[in-house]
Structures are given as C-alpha cells and as structure tokens.
C-alpha cells in the first residue's frame, strides 16, 4: 500500500531523512518511532504529498505522488502534530468545510460528521466555536476530520499526545477497531511506546536513517540478552552463588524469593540452571521468560 525507496529529504545542509526504504502492506499498522528531530513528521509529509522528497521514490496505492497527487490525497487521512482547526468557526462548520473537498454526497457527508462527532462526544458542542475547545477536544475533532471520508490510509502523528487517559484509551481502541473492521492501513507516529507496542504490526525505529524495522516479536527474538525470572519457595539469596557460576549470565538480581537474570543462549543455559537449583534443594515455583518491552528495545537501539 505504501512503498518508500531510498527516500531522503534535505533542508539546506540538514538531512532530515536519510535514505530510508520500507513497504507497508494493506491493513497493517506501521509504528514509526524515533526521538525528536528523527525525521518522522518529515516522512509523513513526504508520504502524504505535502512536500516532495529530495531523493527517492514513493508509491501510494501503486500511484506516483508527482503524477497522482490529487488521487493520493483523496484516499489518505492525516492527523498532523497540531490539530489545525479554524478557531473562529464551529466544529461542525470545520468538518463540513474540510469534508466538502472530497467527492462525497452531501447526505453521506453529514451522516459521517454526525457519526464522528457523536463518537468522540463532541456532538453536544458542535455549534460552539473551536476556540472554546480544549486541546484534547481539538485533537478529537482533528481525528474526526482525518476519518470523515473513510480513507484507505491514515497518517497519525502523535494521535493521543494531548488526550486525557480516558480519551487516549478511546482513540487507541478505535484504532484497533479500525484495523479489524475497516482494513485501513495506518502509519502511526508516536512517542508512546506502549501504544506502539499494543497497536503496531510492524515497528520502524528511525533516527534520520532507519535503525531497525521488524515486528515486535522479531525485535524481542533478535535481542542479544534474554531475561528470565525464577520464583522459588524459599529465599533466593541462598542460591545466588550457585547461579553466579554460569558464565552465560550477564546480569543477576535477587529480591526475596525472586531471581531475575539476563543471559545469553537461554535454550542451553536454562535447563542447566534448573538442574543445579533442583540438585541444591531449591523448590522452583515459576520459571518464566520475561519478554523485553518495546521501551527497552527502543532505548537499546537508539543508544547504540
């Protein structure tokens, strides 16, 4: 659905995006992560035809933005970093105005406006000027604008950044529902790693260049060290010296009856650890692999 090949964008001497390539399948949620200034918003702008790349090739739904910009803009919805609504006109007028540029029958357009305003609990205040709205309300309104024409591709730049926890949860649930029901492709730019981890099919970590692009499972599998947690019936300190004998263990921490380990090659080392513990008389209640969170993986990759 989205194809980017050797994409670069330079602003004078600054290279915001440096030779990135990726493919996003139809219906996928593509989590696009990176620190501030990594080129996330610039990439969204290039993919949504707002700015032209300095180098590289883009294809959206198989079309070239240079030739078919209007078509591409008709099938995408975009939620920019700032809500960008007209403050001096009402919420309803805003949505009516933006949606009027799409080729949708007026009756369907009005139904759609009503549906989204009701869904985001803004219907009661539809006639109020946007200047009287809170930041979160404006964000919900901007999200409604991005969805009103039922786009095939949705670009979301920090969709829950300004929202309270309840609204953020609602938006996340809505994105999940969109993925299941509407078969929509979502390009999700976020700093919220938990959000990216829960929603994304594929995660791309960028810092001008692509650092890593993989599914969360692949990222966890390919991680150098693996974490293991052992819960014993009695105090874990008794077995500390025994476990320290294993050279494969890179990190060890005990806490009451819990031992946390980081180790290389767990498939070979784990059975040996269990055997040693049992031989020493330890009663093992649980032996779990602790999967690394996206936050841990992200920080490791960014720092390295």
């Amino acid at each position: 659905m989205i194809h980017a090949e050797n994409l670069s964008k330079k602003f004078g001497t600054i290279t915001a995006v440096d030779n990135i390539s990726f493919d996003i399948e139809k219906g996928q949620i593509f989590g696009f992560l990176g620190p501030n200034g990594a080129g996330k918003t610039t990439t969204i702008r290039m993919l949504s035809t707002l700015i032209a790349p300095t180098e590289g090739k883009i294809a959206i739904d198989g079309r070239d933005p240079k030739k078919d910009g209007e078509y591409i803009r008709s099938i995408i919805g975009i939620l920019t970093e700032t809500p960008g609504m007209y403050e001096k006109i009402s919420a309803y007028e805003n949505l009516n105005y933006f949606s009027s540029f799409y080729n949708i029958e007026e009756i369907r357009r009005k139904e759609s406006i009503e549906k989204f305003l009701k869904m985001f609990e803004l219907w009661e205040r539809r006639s109020d000027l946007v200047s009287t709205y809170s930041k979160g309300m404006k964000q919900k309104l901007a999200l409604s604008r991005a969805l009103i024409h039922q786009p095939k591709i949705l670009f979301l730049d920090e969709p829950t950044a300004a929202l309270d926890p309840e609204s953020a949860y609602m938006v996340r649930s809505f994105i999940e529902r969109l993925k299941e029901k509407e078969d929509i492709t979502i390009f999700l730019c976020t700093h919220n790693l938990e959000e990216a981890s829960n929603l994304s099919d594929v995660v791309c970590i960028i810092k001008s260049k692509i650092i890593k692009i993989a599914t969360l499972d692949e990222l966890q599998k390919n991680r150098k060290g693996k974490k293991v947690e052992i819960i014993l019936k009695d105090s874990s300190n008794k077995y500390l010296n025994l476990i320290k004998q294993f050279k494969e263990i890179t990190y060890i921490k005990t806490d009451e009856n819990k031992i946390s380990l980081s180790l290389e090659n767990p498939e070979n080392t784990n059975p040996m650890i269990i055997k040693k513990l049992v031989e020493a008389g330890a009663e093992i209640l649980y032996f779990n692999e602790v999967k690394a969170s996206l936050e841990e993986i992200y920080l490791e990759l960014i720092r390295s």
Binding site: T49, S74, T80, Y86, K88, Y97, F101
Partner: protein, 119 residues
C-alpha cells in the same frame, strides 16, 4: 472553481467573525465619510462669521443664493472620495489576514492534504 468558492465562502465567514480585520476598515470609512464632514458642518457657522473667510467663500461660490448649503454640498462631495478607500483597503487587509489566519491556526497543512489542486 467549486473548491475556490468554498474556500472564499469560508474566508468571508471567518473574517466576519474576526473583528480585528473588519473593524479598522469600518473605522476609517466612518471617520472620513461621517465624522469629518459632520465636524466641519458644525463648525461652518463659525467660519462664515469671519469676514475674510466669508469673502473667500462668496468668491468661490459666486451666483449661489445659499452659501451655507453650497459649502456643505462641496465638503460632502470631497469626503465621499474617501469611501473609495473601502474597496481599496478590503483586499489589502483580507489577503494577508487569510494567510496569517491559516498559518496561525496551522490549517494550511490539513487543507493542502485534501484533494484540492495545489499547483
């Protein structure tokens, strides 16, 4: 063309709700077409009492019976020219205001992300 008229209608709606744009135009028009002529009219009687001014006015408006009325008509005609300022000021205020408002509310990006012709 349809899209251009939609944008135009929205601009007008927004500008009408933005007093800082239309108030200066209205103020200038009122000052030149109402306040100044009214002030001069009120001061006309005093001016005519001055013999030198009266003599000058008589010479300018030769053959006129009612000098006071002729003087008033003359002044109103002169100030009516300022009403032409309105159509001259309107576009020069609206055009930058439209761009500034778009920039201020960050709406330019979502607008050009819609399928309107951008080139």
């Amino acid at each position: 063309m349809k899209n251009a008229s939609r944008i135009f209608r929205k601009e007008i709606k927004e500008i009408l709700k933005n007093r800082s744009i239309w108030l200066p135009i209205l103020a200038v028009s009122i000052i030149f077409s109402v306040v100044f002529p009214a002030a001069l009219t009120l001061g006309l009687e005093g001016m005519i009492k001055d013999p030198d001014v009266a003599d000058f006015i008589k010479r300018v408006f030769q053959g006129t019976d009612n000098i006071q009325l002729a003087m008033l008509q003359f002044m109103i005609k002169q100030f009516m020219v300022f009403l032409l300022l309105i159509p001259a000021m309107l576009p020069s205020l609206i055009a930058p205001a439209s761009i500034v408002l778009e920039k201020e509310s960050n709406t330019l990006e979502p607008l050009i992300a819609t399928p309107i012709k951008t080139s």
